[in-house]
Subunit: 222 residues, 2 copies
């Protein structure tokens, strides 16, 4: 056989621990012990801890970007030559995100990892993601541009990142927020429920009125 299930065991354990405690706070000994695998196996199969982290991401992002690309193919040919409506695009993005980890029941892990990628590791993960998946992201952005022709390019750029922040921040801090919400409102909150609540907020944010022009008078204060 080409390779045992050691690689899979390491990845399965690593993604959970990374999501729980972060990259720096999770040691290789921590991972290999829980995975019931020898310490040296990580460096043998992946080369280094950094490469392991990237492998964890790739296992989610490769199928995700592939799915999203295929979905955009399908939508473009269905709507062509008219642009894909914004709601459809957002809806498709959501379901592409949902489908991938559904196979492993680990949406929470996926979202936590995304959140960590943006805040930890001095951005070396951010760079990796941008290099490997920037093309797909750019394609999605281009579709959104066609769907929102009245939005200036800069404004759309920032709003997309605002919305990315809304989703990633919420879903990556889900456990903590859910604790508070459940205690306060005695109502269990599922991920599907949260996405249902996110949908109108994100759509409204993207289509909000343009900001007022910057006033020169307010500048010298700070």
């Amino acid at each position: 056989m080409a390779q045992s299930d050691t690689v899979k065991r390491i990845l399965d354990t690593a993604e959970v621990l990374f999501a729980e405690k972060g990259f720096a706070e999770t040691s290789l000994r921590n991972i290999t012990t829980r995975a019931k695998v020898n310490l040296a196996a990580v460096n043998y199969h992946f080369g280094s801890k950094k490469a392991l982290i990237q492998a964890v991401f790739a296992r989610y992002l490769d199928p995700f970007s592939e799915r999203l690309n295929r979905a955009l193919d399908e939508l473009e040919s269905r709507y062509s030559p008219t642009p894909i409506p914004l709601e459809v695009l957002l809806e498709q993005l959501a379901s592409s995100v949902l489908e991938v980890p559904a196979e492993r029941n680990s949406l929470k892990v996926f979202m936590k990892l995304l959140g960590l990628a943006y805040t930890q590791a001095q951005g070396h993960m951010r760079r990796y993601i941008q290099v490997h998946y920037g093309e797909t992201f750019q394609r999605f952005v281009d579709c959104v541009r066609l769907a929102t022709p009245d939005l200036p390019d800069v404004e759309r750029f920032w709003r997309l990142h605002f919305m990315l922040g809304t989703v990633v921040f919420t879903l990556s801090g889900l456990d903590a927020l859910r604790d508070i919400a459940d205690n306060e409102y005695h109502e269990h909150t599922s991920v599907r429920d949260l996405i249902r609540r996110l949908r109108p907020v994100v759509a409204a944010g993207m289509q909000a009125p343009l900001p007022e022009l910057p006033t020169e008078a307010a500048r010298p204060a700070v």
Copy 2:
């Protein structure tokens, strides 16, 4: 004199390094060397690394929550007995956030720290913040409730966190995003500019239409 500037030197250096690299990735030797202070000074003055981290947060959050409380006092007495309008509340929150680090020109650090508090340190920082500043936050939430009487409580809870995510995520990842934006649109983005863009998006998100009711039929799929 009560105590030298060693404490201040440590805090000034620590907050910058924490914001740049995270808590776990920043060592005490790293801090004390750059601050030109003896290694043992941290444990002498603060007790532990954890306590140092909390002190860094307190130096921002104490004046912030005090300012916000005073501002809410003022607004309540000005508008009473009618509720404070939502736009005014959001505006006040923004300027309270802006005022505090303006004294030290470190809004970026402040935001990065907030972002880290939510994603790192296994939430022990999140707990600290909730214990020490939860009361102020709750007061603000109560004001928002008066301003948005038609919003169900659960919905308002989540939307506030959505908006918190938007702002914290954007401003804490500011440097990275700014790099992309500046390269792509050749237009420098200041923090004030970003807040100008955030305002209508946040307002629209809070006032978005209510989500459709959950459909039982859509559940078995995932």
